[in-house]
Symmetry: C2
Subunit: 244 residues, 2 copies
DNA sequence: TATCATTGTATCAAGTTGATACAATGATAA
DNA sequence: TTATCATTGTATCAACTTGATACAATGATA
């Protein structure tokens, strides 16, 4: 189950955390031909933000990212990878910290530790939209997927963080087969092509896309077929990690 | 000129620095068919380490990397790029901090801030070996270039940091023309090929390498020729940032 | 003037990519 | 039952890229 941390208590536990450092997770999913990113609505503020948090003194930064994601979204066993450090001077932590506290009925003293500067390490993950059921933690009113190409205003520098994560995803997609992580275990060639076209923002010739994908020897054709239209049924494919 | 910080005074200035965060710089150079990396020998310890340091409260992490490199090596205007965060639990900061202090005749109390855990952001730079004259700071006995494929033991996790920087460099070289930064302004096709072969650890057919490089339209042939052997003189080339 | 290692470029086959064509499929409608 | 239709799998051909090899040009040295 979700592990809960009461905000008031959290504010008294400065010694638990590594100072100056935070993590933020950009969780990508794919649905309805849109590349989505998972965002929390922070309690009583209406603020949209990435699932993020601090680093315990006795855990690695990578571990912190996994734990934070679990605590804030309920999702476990998500493979996260760091992609960039956001270390500018004015990321807005002071105002953000005060706003969060105020939303919980607390006014922070001028130099409260939680309003100090944080440098954030960005992590990203690609996952099968249909396989996860994110649930918000106590510090959030809700959690939801948002089209990455049509984002509302976000807290802190989270728009920038998502943009950089998207750049990284495009680079990865270009020369590794990471894309499969965004799809269900079995998918059609059309699904795969729509994913590539959405993420990379360009279209490909169907015949050539299919030839290219099959030539990688990483797709296993599943004999079971699929029905759902007045036309030839497409094969289903499954990613085969042999040449991942 | 080099900006100096006395170590004893440094240890009293905890409030100047952002806690928990450090930067380390992997500076690559190319000489004698070897890919080199710049290392400091830390004063009175014989320890070899990357030029690294802490982050001021009022500077961005990127700025800190540039400043640290300048302070510790005297080199200015080096284009640095972050490539990875090293946030494991046991990077060895406690022992390292004590060893450094001891080398300066200081024994640190059990919980001195300098022995605490640091998460380090790795930065790398590629530069023309012949154009720089690194000079060590007061905290170092010497500074020098070391063959990246034949490194001695290093302080902390710096061997890992260099390995990761090398991975990044190879990836970059593979699909951008960053390699030119490691060469003098003018170079022969053979120089360029040796650089690629050394960094990527594989050899290329001379004719095809030349064809490929010229096809990128990023090399400008300089009319001046080069002498230095009993054979046809090669053209000199210069990188042309048009299609960089 | 001959020698020689090195350099610049050409060539040909093999492999990859882009554009287009077309038959196969299988649910739906006539 | 048969025709229709959008979609799918694959073939084909030209354009382009890559790998392997060949060879003439160069220019200091002997």
């Amino acid at each position: 189950m979700k592990q809960s941390i009461d905000f008031k208590q959290f504010l008294t536990n400065e010694s638990e955390w590594l100072p100056s450092l935070s993590v933020d997770c950009v969780i990508f999913g794919f649905h309805d031909n849109e590349l989505k990113v998972l965002l929390l609505t922070l309690r009583n503020t209406g603020l949209l933000a990435l699932p993020g948090g601090l680093v315990h003194r006795q855990e690695s930064v990578d571990e912190a990212a996994g734990r934070v994601l679990q605590e804030r979204t309920g999702m476990t066993n998500i493979f996260l990878e760091q992609f960039h450090v956001f270390g500018q001077l004015n990321r807005g932590n002071d105002a953000f910290g005060r706003q969060l506290a105020a939303a919980n009925g607390i006014e922070l003293p001028p130099d409260h530790w939680f309003t100090q500067r944080y440098v954030s390490v960005g992590y990203y993950a690609l996952l099968d939209f249909s396989k996860v059921m994110p649930t918000p933690d106590e510090r959030s009113d809700s959690i939801g997927w948002h089209d990455v190409h049509n984002l509302p205003g976000l807290a802190l520098d989270h728009t920038l963080i998502i943009q950089k994560a998207l750049d990284t995803l495009r680079l990865m997609l270009d020369h590794k087969l990471v894309g499969f992580n965004l799809l269900p275990v079995m998918f059609t060639m059309a699904d795969l092509q729509r994913l590539y076209e959405t993420v990379l923002g360009q279209s490909f010739s169907r015949a050539n896309f299919q030839r290219k994908m099959l030539s990688l020897n990483s797709l296993e054709r599943v004999e079971k077929k699929w029905t759902g239209g007045a036309h030839k049924a497409p094969y289903l494919y499954r990613f085969n990690r042999k040449n991942g």
